[in-house]
């Protein structure tokens, strides 16, 4: 193996193992900044020794053992004389003396530590961008440069963000633990928010650009899946994973030949990734099997699943989607959700039913400048044969949209209605 090959292997191994190592160290030293530094020392040792001596058969175990030694040295050397730390040091030394082959036993502990790390990196005391950067760094194994490229931010900005985040966690004495009881729900919501933020950043990135960005979807999916195995009793975790798997399943169908977005109903379903759909449906089933009412992510996943199950657009179970949007609206009342519900109701029960719901939204100030409301109303009116009113709505929608292509499409629809009204057949 050439030196370059070894380095590439080390990079890959680090990407795979670093989160677990940092997590285990954070448990020992109670400071994730210090944990990361100590973990880096193990990486440096690997970079120094492996090119000559060869990559060890169990590289993860080698790194973990090396990192733990550094941590113990640090604890002793810095004479953290508080009895707690001494005792901790002794306890860990004793554990160390056990044959390293007890991978399975240690595995559970590392799993717990990994969960602690996830919750700590996503602590709500940190601003969202800091949580995202810290999570990608400590749990995704991305370098600062990679994170910066992924988010189109300057590298020094991201580096500072991470430094400040670690400092904040230390200053606020955020404990390295998994939250319990009443705290858990809110803290878990914070974690899921971070993961979904990462996913969306990747999902909305257009292809043809830097591949670092769409790859964020894979990072988010991996983190979600890891979390799902660490917290198998949490339905919203499975719900989020399901949502991401199913959304990701459409990535090859989402863009047209010129890079323009293709609406879900117009997408070539042959390009939907059935492997991811299968995984998404399985994750959704896990969420549903845990019982109780579906949460926000699970509901959105269930809606996505309805589309995923339909082999063609006409086969879509719109009635079910309408019911799911209703549940979603009750849980998270939002005019946008209500509008989506109106569309689903119209598909299931006809445009008059949809229009009734859409009309109720016209007085909502939040939707005053939302071009999709008049666009949707225009669609219903056209289907009901009320062409003059429909045309006016499409023109209103065209005036409200920022997107040139959408504006053109809306004006085209208005124009076509004009022709219909004038009795011209095309």
């Amino acid at each position: 193996m050439t030196a370059t090959d070894t380095h590439r292997a080390i990079d890959a191994i680090w990407r795979i193992e670093s989160a677990r190592i940092i997590a285990a160290l954070a448990h020992m030293v109670r400071d994730i900044g210090l944990a990361e530094d100590l973990a880096q020392e193990a990486l440096v040792a690997a970079l120094e020794q492996w090119p000559a001596g060869g990559v060890p058969e169990k590289p993860g175990a080698w790194l973990m053992a090396t990192a733990r030694h550094r941590a113990l040295d640090h604890l002793r050397h810095h004479q953290l004389a508080e009895r707690k730390h001494e005792e901790l040091g002794r306890e860990l030394e004793a554990r160390q003396a056990i044959a390293p082959d007890l991978d399975a036993a240690l595995d559970d502990e590392v799993g717990d530590d990994l969960l602690r790390l996830i919750f700590t990196a996503c602590h709500p005391v940190l601003p969202a961008e800091a949580r995202v950067a810290l999570t990608l760094r400590l749990l995704g194994g991305l370098t600062t440069a990679e994170i910066a490229r992924a988010f189109l931010a300057p590298e020094p900005t991201v580096a500072q963000r991470i430094v400040r985040a670690k400092r904040t966690l230390a200053e606020r004495r955020v404990p390295f633990e998994v939250p319990r009881g009443a705290e858990l729900a809110a803290r878990l919501a914070s974690v899921l928010e971070v993961i979904y933020l990462i996913f969306n950043e990747g999902y909305t990135a257009t292809t043809g650009g830097d591949w670092m960005r769409p790859a964020l979807c894979e990072d988010a999916l991996r983190l979600g899946r890891v979390l799902a195995e660490l917290t198998p009793e949490e339905p919203e975790v499975h719900g989020l994973v399901a949502l991401m798997e199913i959304q990701a399943s459409r990535s090859r169908a989402r863009l047209g030949p010129a890079g323009e977005p293709v609406l879900l109903l117009d997408q070539d379903r042959g390009r939907w990734d059935q492997l991811l759909i299968r995984r998404g449906l399985a994750a959704l089933e896990r969420a549903e099997k845990l019982g109780g009412a579906l949460g926000l992510y699970a509901l959105q996943a269930a809606i996505a699943a309805c589309h995923a199950r339909a082999r063609t657009a006409p086969e879509t179970d719109w009635a079910r989607i309408a019911r799911l949007y209703e549940a979603l609206a009750r849980l998270a009342p939002s005019p946008v959700v209500q509008l989506n519900r109106a569309v689903a109701v119209a598909m299931a029960s006809g445009p008059a039913a949809g229009l009734e719901l859409a009309d109720a939204l016209t007085s909502d100030p939040a939707l005053k400048t939302y071009h999709l409301l008049p666009s949707v109303r225009g669609d219903f009116l056209a289907k009901l044969g009320r062409f003059d009113e429909a045309r006016a709505e499409f023109e209103r929608a065209a005036a409200l949209t920022q997107n040139a292509r959408e504006r053109d499409l809306l004006l085209e629809r208005a124009r076509t209605l004009c022709l219909r009204n004038a009795g011209t057949r095309t």
Binding site: R8, A9, D11, A12, I13, R15, I16, E57, K58, P59, G111, E146, T207, D210, W211, M212, A215, E218, L221, R222, L223, G224, R225, V226, E229, L230, R252, L255, R271, L275, L276, R279
Partner: protein, 123 residues
Amino acid sequence: MRFLSIYKTAERTSPPTQEEIARMGALVQEGMKAGYLLAVEGCLPTALGARIRRSEGKLTVTDGPFTESKEVVGGLAIIQANSKEEAIERVKQFLSFAGEGECELRQLSEAGQNTQAQGAARS
């Protein structure tokens, strides 16, 4: 990036033991926990399978077992990885559990993606 890993090994002469089944189950669990294992399947004995070849316009079907083959396909996995090196590490872990044999690792084509550019971006 996605990779296909095809595991080839000498055909078993007896069904797997409880211990072997448990070990393979644990291995799959590990893959799930680490979030990179997208799909995994194991093959039943070649006696239940067949080989179909098309050559010079002629189709030939040969039923198993394939006793003359030193190694046969034992199973497959589809892995998510950021690089070929990462996929190799995953496969190494698998083989350290699975025992003797060879995994052929192939990057899967993902429509609409320039795989070379991706490789460069994430290395």
